[in-house]
Amino acid sequence: MLSWLLTPFTYEFMQRGFMASVIVGIICSVIGCYVVIRSMAFMGDAMAHAILPGVAIAYIFNGSLTLGALIASIVIALGIGQLSKQGRLKEDTAIGILFSAFLALGILIISSIRTYAVDLSHILFGNILGVSRNDLIFTTVAGFIILLFIFIFYKEFMIISFDQVFARAVKIPVEVYRNFMLVLMALTIVASIQTVGVVMIAAMLVTPAASAFLLSKRLPAMMGISCLIGVLSSIIGLYISYYANVASGAAIVLTATVIFLIIFLFSPKRGIIWKQLKRTARTRNLIRKPYN
């Protein structure tokens, strides 16, 4: 058993892959808590897909792919904010428009580059075996920065998410913090591309946090539980990916989904099986009573 657990670690690329996916599991889960309670899942998905044209343009101009991805992701987030400002368009409509436009632009550019060296499928689905030393350092530093800011501005982020009117009344610059949170989200997404890929990042942002939401009554606890689920999904998913020889990102996301489903069914607070059991017990008591 022990050797079964340790075998993957004999390869250096697997060590790096494990470390990267654990960090990604943590940051996605923490930022994901805000994504879930602020209903920004669709926004996260759009920001992830917007990376495509960013990477492609950066490639053409020989720039840093990471920087290209980060800028594109922030641009779409701010663009959505502008389009939906003051209720001119509903936010999900604005997201729908820009999301597909960025994706189309990405595909257009990539299809025009004949000698494109970066495999598109690696951006889309992640490639955990290809995590380089530099990638790992970037992910670690980004993760550290993200967690630090989430910790420092905890009160502001919490208040603007709960009650915007109150936040503005106590003179918190709501717009500034909202944009700041979008930048942190973009950073999270870019740092996660290598491990889970564009297509599945939304799941990493939403699924562990949603599971934690069902189990916790306070935001700090929700973040802790979400982290635990995120890390657990990453590790289990990677083992599955290693031994069953399947795509790592998909394995991680599906593991998280299974954990979510178990919690959804059995959580003592909001689980449906539990509620059903209570209801049946109550009905049974009602039926039994007359005979006693």
Binding site: I152, K155, F162, V165, R168, V170
Partner: protein, 263 residues
């Protein structure tokens, strides 16, 4: 730019000819009035009369087209927490993962420096606010299973934790239980003793005429402002409510069920 004012200094509110646009529609036009220290004012008007708009302007959330707002004789923006606003309950997500205590504690936001835990003094104020609204035993409960009345009391406790000089309440009696109403009235009497100015938007003409020092009848413009007996005349009520008001002898009945149809 911002400064703390002594709690001892009583609040005085002067509104000088303000107009406010909301979604490019005129929500409030040429409104002027002043409220003395410790007064309790009912703001009455049909839906869309600009009651909530007025309150939001008073805490600096809406830009003024023209006119000025003075608090303590100084223009708006010089104060941190001296005006507290209690919005209608529907405006926040009650599934949010915070406890009752967390929400009340938000009221101390500006008094706590970054990285520091809430001080003993803050804790005392939070506790006192919860005791006043009788929600101490709910302190550790998540807010997702509170009744309407309990939600309202949590909001009021948060506003009290701000230690305001002026308290603005938007329909606090809407959909709350009798027990909560009683607690709110007790609170209002206590606030009067410590000279806190209170403005309450309400639909209830009866309450307004019985329990308030003065009444403001509003329908985008000021219709009338003064003692309840002076304000509640048939002419004034017709001017504010139009066909929605019916008179039976000396009793006025306001029909609020279909405000959109009647202009």
């Amino acid at each position: 730019m911002t400064e703390k004012l002594s709690v001892l200094e009583p609040a005085r509110l002067d509104i000088d000819n303000i107009s406010i646009n909301y979604d490019s529609l005129k929500a409030i036009e040429d409104l002027s009035f002043s409220v003395n220290h410790g007064q309790r004012v009912a703001v009455i008007g049909p839906n869309g009369a600009g009651k909530s708009t007025l309150f939001k302007a008073l805490i600096g959330l809406l830009p003024l087209e023209n006119g000025k707002i003075f608090i303590h004789g100084r223009p708006l923006g010089h104060h941190f927490d001296c005006v507290a606003f209690i919005p209608q309950r529907e405006e926040v997500d009650w599934m949010f993962p915070v406890t009752v205590r967390d929400v009340v504690q938000m009221g101390r936001f500006n008094s706590t420096p970054r990285f520091k835990r809430y001080s003993k003094h803050d804790d005392e104020i939070v506790l006192e606010s919860m005791v006043q609204m009788d929600i101490l035993e709910l302190a550790k409960r998540p807010i997702d299973n509170l009744s309407g009345g309990q939600q309202q009391r949590v909001f009021i406790a948060r506003a009290l934790a701000q230690k305001p000089h002026i308290l603005l309440m938007d329909e606090p009696f809407n959909g709350v239980d009798v027990f909560t109403q009683e607690i709110i009235w007790n609170l209002l009497d206590k606030l009067k003793q410590v000279m806190v100015t209170v403005m309450i938007a309400t639909h209830d003409l009866n309450l307004a005429s019985l329990k308030f020092d003065s009444v403001m009848l509003l329908n985008k413009k000021m219709i009338s402002y003064g003692l309840p007996s002076e304000v509640f005349t048939q002419d004034n009520l017709r001017a504010a409510f139009g066909n929605q008001v019916i008179f039976i002898g000396n009793t006025a009945i306001v029909d609020q069920c279909c405000p959109k149809d009647i202009k």
